[in-house]
C-alpha cells in the first residue's frame, strides 16, 4: 500500500523545522504505524538520509514513550490506543497522513517527532508520592481499603504519562495527568496524610511549567489511550479547594 506522508522534520531543539513529504509505497495493512515508520526509515537510511526520529520502547501500549499527532488526532484516528497499537489497516491506500510532534510550550521538540516530557516528571517530583521509607511499612493488611475505592484508584493509576492529554487539549493543559496522580493517592487512606501538600505542590508546579488551563472540553478524556476519566479532574478540583480552605 502507498501513502503520502507529511512529517515534521526538525534537526534539534533550536533549529527551525519544516514538513517534508514522502511518497512511501512500502506500507502494508498488517503493519503497525510505527513499523511503517521503521520501514520508511530503512529506505531513508539506505539513501543516506537521516531517519525520522521518534520515541518508542515497549511497543505494547504500556510504557508511554511513543506518541505523535496523526491527521489531527493524538495517536491517530482510533480511540483508546497508543500510537504503537495503531495499525495501518485504518488508513486507505493512497491516503495523505500528516504526522506532527506533540505541540505544547511545556513539551519542547527535541528532534523530529520527539518531544521533551520532563515536565511530567517535575510535576510528579513536586509531590506525586507517599512519604514512606523502606522498612517502615506496616503489614499490607493493617489498613483495609474499600474495594470500590481501590478499583477507582487503579483506574486513575493506569496513566502511562504519554502526554496525549496535553497534546489533545486545545489549551495544552496537563490537568488529566495531574488529576490521575492526585486521585490515586487521594483515594487511599495512606495517601490522605499529605494529600493537601501534594495537590498544592503539584498544581503549583504544573502552572509554573507553562501548561494551559483546563476548560473542561473533554478532549483529553476522548483521546486518552488508557481511557482515564475527567471525573479525576473534578476530584482534583475538590482536593485543591479543600486543601486551600483548611
Amino acid at each position: 500500500m502507498k501513502v503520502k506522508l507529511k512529517i515534521w522534520r526538525q534537526k534539534n531543539a533550536v533549529s527551525k523545522g519544516k514538513f517534508v513529504t514522502y511518497d512511501f509505497d512500502g506500507a502494508s495493512p498488517e503493519m503497525s504505524f510505527l513499523e511503517m515508520l521503521d520501514a520508511l526509515n530503512t529506505t531513508l537510511i539506505q539513501k543516506g538520509d537521516n531517519p525520522v526520529a521518534f520515541d518508542s520502547d515497549c511497543r505494547e501500549g504500556i510504557c508511554g514513550a511513543c506518541g505523535m499527532y496523526i491527521n489531527g488526532y493524538p495517536n491517530g484516528p482510533v480511540k483508546g490506543i497508543t500510537t504503537c497499537h495503531l495499525s495501518m489497516r485504518y488508513f486507505k491506500d493512497g491516503q495523505t497522513i500528516v504526522v506532527e510532534p506533540w505541540r505544547a510550550k511545556a513539551f519542547p521538540v527535541v528532534k523530529d517527532l520527539i518531544v521533551d516530557r520532563m515536565a511530567f516528571d517535575k510535576i510528579q517530583t513536586a509531590g506525586g508520592f507517599i512519604s514512606t521509607n523502606v522498612g517502615s511499612a506496616p503489614d499490607a493488611h493493617a489498613i483495609p481499603v474499600n474495594k470500590s475505592k481501590a478499583d477507582d484508584a487503579f483506574d486513575s493509576s493506569i496513566c502511562i504519562g504519554c502526554g496525549t492529554c496535553v497534546a489533545a487539549c486545545k489549551n495544552a493543559s496537563a490537568m488529566l495527568f495531574v488529576s490521575a496522580k492526585v486521585s490515586q493517592y487521594a483515594l487511599f487512606p495512606q495517601g490522605k496524610i499529605e494529600a493537601k501538600e501534594r495537590v498544592k505542590a503539584m498544581i503549583q508546579t504544573m502552572d509554573e511549567l507553562g501548561f494551559g488551563n483546563c476548560t473542561n472540553t473533554g478532549a483529553c478524556e476522548a483521546q486518552c489511550p488508557k481511557n482515564i476519566s475527567i471525573i479525576n479532574i473534578a476530584r482534583l478540583n475538590r482536593e485543591y479547594f479543600s486543601a486551600k480552605i483548611n
Binding site: 513499523e35 495499525s87 510528579q124 506525586g128 481499603v145 474495594k147 481501590a150
Partner: protein, 639 residues
C-alpha cells in the same frame, strides 16, 4: 577458582540473612552523606535501589536511556508479584516459595539467595502497599491473591494485567521523593557506554547524552547495574525494542564474570510475527491456555480458513503428546512443541510460524459471556493488534524470547567479581536457575533493590568512608572516555550499505534457530561461525547516518548490536559447554526417549561463570558448585 567466593554466611538457611544483617558492617549517617553511588537503570531494581539508598542518606546518581525513569521495561510485566504472605491460609510459607523457585529453576540456582528473596518478598508487598500501589482487593478491603504458573498455592498479588506497571510507578514515586529531597540526581536519556575502574574498584561510568551526543564522566564510590537482561538478542522478543545488555556487557569485558548466559526463557503464547518490519512480539497471558486448545492442521500446507477445517483434520498436538497435562504443560514444553510442529511444516499463517489457540469449544461450552469475563481485555488487545477477533476465529500464537535467567555473576551481597560493582534484578543470575516461575521476577527485582542491596552495599562502603569524592579528571577516566569515543568514531565512519536493524534481525534469526528453544552441538557450532561472520560484515558494511554530536538513534542501536555479537558468542559458548538439558536450556543430545529434557546433575550442577579474556579469545570457565542442603534434588516431572 579463587575468583568465585559466593560469601554465603554460614549457619542454617533460614538464619543466614538475619545473621548477615546483624553482623554486617555499617556506615554511619554522617558518612553516608559523603558517599556517592551510581545506579544504572530505573526499572523495579534500579528505581527501588536508588530510592532506598537515597533514603539511607547516600548521594545517588541514577541513569536511564529513556526520556523518563517511568518507562523502564518492568512497566510491561503483566501477571503479578509473588509473596509468601499466606493470606489465603493455604499452607504457603517462605520455605515453600523458596522450594518452588529452586525446583522451578531446575536446581540451577543458589539456595541461600533464593531463600533470602522468598524471605523479603513479604516486605516488598508491605512496602508497595504503603506506597499506594493499587493491588486488587476483595470486598473486605484486603488484598486478593491468585494462583499463577501452576503452583499449588495462591500467592500472587496483582493489579489486573498491569502489575508491573503499578509496581514500577510505585517505585518511581519513591524515586521522585528522593529526587525532590536532592538525594537522587536523575540523568535520563543517558546511556552507559563504559565502566571506569580505579585501583581494581568500580569508580564510575562513561555515558553518552542521547540528546546532545556529549560523552560524559560520572564518578562514585560504588556502581550498581540494574540494567535488565539480554532477551532482545533474538531481535523479536516480548521486550522493549531498546532493551539491551550493553551496560552489563561493558562490565563483563572489564572483568565481571557472566553466569549461565544460555539460560533464556521462551514464552509460549505471544502474538506471532505479522510482517517483516515487526520490531517486537506482544505477550498474551499464559492464562489463556486454561480454556484455549492449541492445534495445527493435520495436513502440511492446509490453507483453508481455520474455521473451515473439520475436527478430524486438526491435530491438537499438546493433548496428543501430553494426555495428562494437555494444553497446560509448562512453558518450555509448550514452546518446544510448537516449534517442533512449525519446523515440520504444519505451522499456520503466511509465515508458517504460528499455531492456533482456539476458544471455539470453550465458547460453545461456557458461553461467550463467561469467556469475555475471563479474557475480555486480552481478546481486545489481540484484536487491536491483529484485526481479527478471537471470539470468531482461533488466535494465532507463537513462542517468543521473554526473560534471561543468566546474567552477571554476583555473590551473596549482589556484588560482581569487580569490587564495588553490583548487579541487581534481571541483570544478575542468582535466583531463577535455569527457568523462572511466573510472578517471581517482580518479587526478586524489588527485593534486590529495596531490601537487600541497601544492606549489603554498606559492607563494602564501610571501607570507603575516608575516600573523598572520586575525581573524574584522572587517567582512568581519560582512557575510558577515549575508548568510548574511538568506538563511536569507528562505528559511524564505516558508512556501509546495510542498516543496523537488518544486522540485528539476522543475528536474531541465527540465535533463534540455533540457540533458541532447542540446541544441538552442530547447530551451535554453525551459529558460532555465522555470528563471527556477521560481526565482521557488520563492522565493514553497517550504515549509520547522522553525526556523533546529535540525537542519533541509529548510532545508539549500532552500539548495542555490536555488543550483541559478543553476547551471542558467549551464549553459544555456554550452551555448547552445558551438554545437559535443564530448565529452559534444551540440548537435543540430552533428552529422554519420549523427548523430554534430561538433566545431568553429576556433571553440571554448577553455575558456569565465564571470564572474558579478550576479543576473539577463548572464554575461561569458572564453576561455582551448587550445593543443595535444604531441598531434595528431584527430576522435574509434570506427568
Amino acid at each position: 577458582m579463587t575468583k568465585l567466593n559466593s560469601k554465603i554466611p554460614d549457619g542454617p538457611l533460614a538464619e543466614k540473612w538475619t545473621k548477615f544483617k546483624a553482623t554486617t558492617r555499617l556506615v554511619n549517617p554522617a558518612n553516608k552523606k559523603k558517599l556517592e553511588i551510581i545506579v544504572v537503570g530505573t526499572g523495579l531494581a534500579g528505581a527501588s535501589a536508588a530510592s532506598a539508598l537515597g533514603e539511607l542518606g547516600y548521594n545517588v546518581k541514577n541513569f536511564c536511556y529513556q526520556d523518563t525513569p517511568r518507562r523502564a521495561h518492568s512497566v510491561a510485566a503483566q501477571g503479578g508479584i509473588n509473596a509468601a504472605k499466606n493470606y489465603k491460609n493455604d499452607g504457603d510459607s517462605v520455605y515453600r516459595l523458596f522450594y518452588d523457585m529452586v525446583k522451578g529453576g531446575d536446581y540451577r540456582s543458589r539456595e541461600a539467595n533464593v531463600y533470602r528473596t522468598a524471605e523479603v518478598s513479604n516486605d516488598v508487598i508491605d512496602h508497595y502497599t504503603a506506597l499506594g500501589v493499587p493491588f486488587a482487593r476483595d470486598y473486605g478491603g484486603n488484598l486478593d491473591n491468585r494462583s499463577f504458573g501452576g503452583v499449588q498455592v495462591s500467592r500472587t498479588f496483582y493489579a489486573k494485567g498491569q502489575t508491573g506497571q503499578q509496581c514500577l510507578l510505585g517505585a518511581y514515586s519513591s524515586l521522585n521523593r528522593q529526587i525532590s529531597k536532592g538525594k537522587v540526581t536523575m540523568y535520563s536519556r543517558r546511556e552507559m557506554l563504559e565502566l571506569v575502574i580505579i585501583d581494581g574498584k568500580a569508580r564510575g561510568i562513561i555515558t553518552r547524552n542521547l540528546v546532545s551526543g556529549e560523552i560524559e564522566r560520572h564518578s562514585a564510590h560504588a556502581v550498581v547495574l540494574a540494567t535488565g537482561g539480554y532477551g532482545t538478542i533474538y531481535y523479536l522478543s516480548t521486550l522493549a525494542v531498546n532493551s539491551n545488555p550493553s551496560a552489563a556487557w561493558k562490565a563483563h569485558k572489564k572483568g565481571a564474570l557472566f553466569a549461565n548466559p544460555s539460560f533464556v526463557q521462551i514464552h509460549p503464547t505471544s502474538i506471532p510475527q505479522l510482517n517483516d518490519y515487526q520490531a517486537k512480539l506482544t505477550l498474551m497471558s499464559e492464562s489463556l491456555r486454561n480454556d484455549g486448545r492449541i492445534w495445527v492442521p493435520k495436513t502440511k500446507g492446509d490453507k483453508r480458513h481455520p474455521n473451515e477445517i473439520p475436527e478430524e483434520d486438526r491435530d491438537y498436538y499438546l493433548e496428543r503428546r501430553y494426555p495428562a497435562f494437555g494444553n497446560l504443560v509448562p512453558r518450555d514444553v509448550a514452546s518446544r512443541a510448537a516449534k517442533e510442529r512449525c519446523d515440520a511444516g504444519y505451522g499456520v499463517s503466511e509465515t508458517g510460524l504460528a499455531v492456533n489457540l482456539d476458544f471455539r469449544d470453550a465458547i460453545n461450552k461456557q458461553g461467550k459471556k463467561a469467556i469475555e469475563n475471563k479474557y475480555g481485555n486480552l481478546f481486545e488487545m489481540y484484536e487491536t493488534i491483529t484485526g481479527t477477533s478471537p471470539y470468531e476465529e482461533p488466535m494465532r500464537i507463537y513462542p517468543a524470547g521473554h526473560y534471561t535467567m543468566g546474567g552477571l555473576w554476583v555473590d551473596y551481597e549482589l556484588m560482581t567479581t569487580i569490587p564495588g560493582l553490583y548487579a541487581i534484578g534481571e541483570s544478575n543470575f542468582s535466583d531463577h536457575g535455569a527457568n523462572r516461575l511466573g510472578a517471581s521476577s517482580l518479587m526478586q527485582t524489588s527485593g534486590d533493590g529495596y531490601f537487600i542491596l541497601p544492606y549489603t552495599i554498606g559492607n563494602y562502603l564501610a571501607d570507603d568512608i575516608r575516600t573523598p569524592i572520586i575525581p573524574t579528571d584522572t587517567k582512568e577516566f581519560d582512557d575510558a572516555e577515549k575508548e568510548v569515543k574511538d568506538r563511536l568514531e569507528k562505528l559511524i565512519s564505516i558508512k556501509g550499505k546495510q542498516t543496523v536493524t537488518s544486522f540485528h534481525r539476522r543475528l536474531g534469526k541465527i540465535m533463534w534457530n540455533h540457540a533458541g528453544m532447542s540446541r544441538n552441538e552442530q547447530g551451535l557450532k554453525e551459529a558460532l561461525q555465522m555470528v563471527k561472520e556477521l560481526k565482521e560484515e557488520f563492522w565493514n558494511d553497517v550504515m549509520i547516518p547522522g553525526e556523533l554530536e546529535e540525537l542519533n538513534q541509529e548510532l545508539e542501536k549500532a552500539g548495542r548490536v555490536a555488543d550483541y555479537f559478543d553476547v551471542a558468542r558467549l551464549m553459544i559458548t555456554d550452551a555448547l559447554n552445558r551438554t545437559e538439558s535443564c530448565g529452559a536450556h534444551f540440548r537435543e543430545e540430552s533428552q529422554t526417549e519420549d523427548g523430554e529434557a534430561k538433566r545431568d546433575d553429576a556433571n553440571f550442577m554448577y553455575v558456569a561463570a565465564w571470564e572474558y579474556t579478550g576479543e576473539n579469545k577463548e572464554y575461561k570457565l569458572h564453576k561455582e558448585a551448587l550445593i543443595y542442603e535444604n531441598i531434595e534434588v528431584k527430576v522435574r516431572s509434570y506427568k
